[in-house]
């Protein structure tokens, strides 16, 4: 047995009205990668915030024992001085500043009166090398991709002499390739004796890197699973712990759906990048979707999936160079505005629900009707009663958990926000729904409900295009799957034929020549 480096004993943390953590016990051994899993709101991040001193000593009950001594962290600097460094889910880098400036922001090297820039940059370069980045630390952060920005965050943590590194959903905004690189980097650090805690929703990643898994549910630690024990830990086993029940089928069956004629078809669709005109983000794509059909589009991030969807949706991204769009057999030319797409009964449900989807400062009612105010108004005068009724109808239909439809959307959980976003587009009464990563960042239970909604839509004869970077989801939910890579569609297969292996090998075979 390796020695216990960290022990959190009987931690209880209450917020006004809520017990976020209830008597939590959590142990980490030196030199292991310990995964912390659980549904959204289970208390994982709260626990880590207690550990790192964001919630200072005295605002919680219980003890933190680190390297044999009881710690009383009053602020983040206290825990950092002990070598406990947390990397938050949302990247905390200033885009306009250089990598080096970012890494030492708040910890500037030099005298109080003058920063020693030479030393800053040479130190920064040293740590960048350790995380495998070849960029100079004088590069501005906005010039590197998200994957590399995540690595900069890690380099920044290293520069603080981290010995216990906490990564809160480090791969949530990374594509599969960058995620793999990051996980491999973690395994490399482990060899050098670093201890790490990783919070993640992606169970395949958990299986890949972790030595132990602790499951958190409703503010309590449920169990700790040993990955090197006798029992093989399956994903279903972990999910069982997370939701507290056996999930026999993660994807609800779609029964008796009659698949009809082709509803929407695009041919030879080529789209130019809005700024870098020499690049085509979508290249000669042809695809179709039938009535009552769910078509999956799988591809790594950056493959051009979102760009394809948004360019169909009234050219809300890029410039269309060539291609035709047929709706119900008739060729249409949409004006360069989302409004025209909505009029032609196309809906695009964005992957970025907070950034591009919802008005967080407004109520569920207001968000539900935003894309179809005509449906609740006469001569542009709103009928608040009709609007309220519509919002209520969709709240019930989608089982959105909220005290009332007057609740601000910003106060809802991710899963419920996603339901409001779906409600908004269902209220616009489209024939074709393009769902871009409809289950990103929401917990297992809410995912299941979203899948049921997708099935209902298909049953009602709508055509659904589901873009996703989760292979099991694409295979489990689609009737037919398109595989996209490097701006092109590189394959198409029926769901029955699809396996994770043959889809991945199709992508690898197509190469990544962009």
């Amino acid at each position: 047995m390796a020695k216990i480096i960290l022990e959190m004993k009987n931690i209880t943390k209450t917020f006004p009205g809520v017990k976020a953590l209830d008597n939590v016990n959590f142990q980490v051994e030196e030199g292991e990668i310990h995964a912390l899993v659980g549904e959204n709101g289970a208390g994982k991040s709260t626990l880590m915030n207690v550990l790192s001193g964001i919630y200072p000593y005295g605002t919680y009950e219980g003890d933190i024992v680190y390297e044999g001594e009881v710690c009383k962290f009053h602020k983040i600097k206290d825990s950092e001085s002990k070598g406990i460094v947390i990397i938050h889910q949302e990247l905390a880098l200033v885009p306009e500043m250089t990598i080096g400036e970012n890494m030492y922001l708040g910890n500037e090297i030099g005298r109080k009166s003058a920063i020693d820039w030479d030393k800053t940059y040479s130190e920064a370069d040293k740590y960048l090398k350790m995380v495998g980045l070849t960029e100079s630390s004088k590069t501005k952060v906005k010039e590197i991709g998200t994957g590399k920005q995540q690595l900069v965050e890690i380099a920044k943590a290293l520069s603080k002499h981290a010995r216990l590194l906490i990564l809160d959903e480090p791969t949530s905004s990374l594509n599969e390739e960058d995620s793999k690189a990051l996980l491999d980097l973690m395994l490399g650090f482990k060899k050098q004796g670093m201890t790490m805690i990783i919070i993640t929703h992606k169970l395949n990643e958990v299986a890949y890197v972790s030595d132990k898994i602790t499951v958190v549910r409703d503010g309590s630690t449920i169990e700790t699973l040993d990955c090197h024990g006798a029992e093989q830990i399956s994903e279903d086993r972990i999910i069982k712990g997370m939701v507290g029940r056996e999930m026999t089928n993660r994807f609800p069956k779609r029964e008796n759906v009659a698949i009809g004629d082709v509803m929407m078809e695009v041919s030879n669709w080529t789209v130019q990048h809005p700024k870098y005109t020499e690049r085509n983000v979508v290249n000669d794509v042809s695809m179709y979707v039938r009535k009552g059909e769910v078509v999956g589009i799988y591809g790594l991030m950056g493959a051009g999936r979102t760009e394809l969807a948004m360019s169909i949706f009234g050219q809300s991204y890029g410039t269309l160079l060539s291609g035709t769009l047929k709706l119900d057999g008739k060729e249409v030319r949409l004006k360069k505005t989302p409004l025209d797409a909505i009029k032609h009964k196309i809906a695009y449900v964005t992957e970025d629900r907070k950034g591009n989807g919802l008005v967080l400062s407004q109520s569920i009612r207001v968000n539900t009707t935003l894309a179809n105010l005509g449906g609740v108004s006469k001569n542009t005068v709103l009928d608040t009663d009709a609007e309220y009724a519509a919002a209520e109808e969709y709240r019930k239909k989608l089982n959105t958990k909220t005290p009332s439809v007057e609740q601000l959307v910003g106060n809802l959980s991710g899963g419920n926000q996603q339901k409001v976003l779906l409600a908004k587009w269902m209220f616009a009464e489209p024939d074709v729904l393009i769902l871009d990563e409809p289950t990103r960042g929401i917990d297992v239970g809410a995912k299941y409900e979203i899948y049921c909604i997708i099935n209902d839509l298909a049953k009602a004869g709508k055509s659904v295009i589901m873009i996703s970077s989760e292979l099991p989801e694409v295979i489990g939910m689609s009737d037919r799957i398109y595989i996209m890579n490097a701006s092109r569609i590189v394959g198409e297969m029926k769901a029955e034929e699809a396996t994770q292996e043959n889809i991945m090998s199709m992508i690898l075979a197509s190469g990544r020549g962009d």
Binding site: L339, T350, G355, Q362, L370, L373, Y388
Partner: protein, 389 residues
Amino acid sequence: MQTRSAKAFFKKNTMIIALVVVILFFYWRTGGTILLPQNVNNLFSQNAYVFVLGTGMLLCILTGGNIDLSVGSVVCFTGGIGAVMLDRDMNWLLTVIVMLAVGLAIGMFQGFWIAYVSVPPFIATLAGMYAFRGLSNVVLQGYSIGVDNTTFLNVFGGGADCYIPDFIGKVGNLNMTCMIAGIIIAVLFVVLNIKTWITRKVKGYTNDSMTSELAKVAVMAILILYITWKLAQFKGIPTVVIWILAVLLIYNYISQKTAIGRYLYAVGGNRKATELSGVNTKRVFFIAYSNMGLLAGLAGILTLARMVQGNPTFGLGYEMDAIAACFIGGASAYGGIGAVPGTVIGAVLLGVINQGMSIMGVSTNYQSVVKGLVLLIAVLFDVVSKKKE
């Protein structure tokens, strides 16, 4: 539960409570002078421009905390044009239409750059602030020009006869037209509010509790009656109050009940999401700033009438009063949050503070200091209460 609902009540009505406290304070310090009929009357007449400009400014602020710095200059410029036209004995109605049209045109001009060329509103309207101040001087040739068209003055609340004539006559010292109008408005207000409340109740929508609804309606009704009672003791309803009321009611309706109103809030809350919902967001910006120009034209008319002259120094700092009224009234500096009633409270609060201090004989220098502090405290309140959430 009791304490929680009390807390929620305080939070929801912070500015109203603050207003009441401020009024009580000045009532005490001025020995009651602040609530003399004439002073209540002046509160509206003197601050008409804040109500009108504040309403327009609110729509701009809703789009994302954007402000219009040019309105003070536009008030002066349109006022100048009006003064010159009336001085040449042109028809007063034509003059009014020209002034409104010029205001609207200026708003459209600035709105064009902001909406369709993406010039930051601060800069586009700062440019307008300089330019139209200069043009005011050109139009008036540096002099002040008096207005002697009595119809114009009477209609827009300037000169001696700027009150609605008393059709009924006085009973005691009370102007009965004013009193009856007040009673009708109060009754209408009560009936309409209770009617909506009952419909909502019947249909099972979320609703305020009956006590808080009744309390709210009762307080507002008493307030309306109190103000009209005060005005009736003086000379009746100032004509300018009619204009203020019209603007407030129309814009409250637009912002709450129409699609364009909804879009103003949505654009300020999340522009990208609104655009992807099929809304022409550029048009929303264009409308907000065009409308601001139109209302600046109206404020120009009211100012010209009240001052009975056009003067190249008029309107200085008006934009700041309007902006302050919005923020004191709870508008968010990031957009998407705010409402006309809030702006009214902000405007009244500023007006009361101005007047109270003048009566107390505080120098204008210190009045400015106090106004600044009030703005800071009001926004602080907002920020702190949000943080606690």
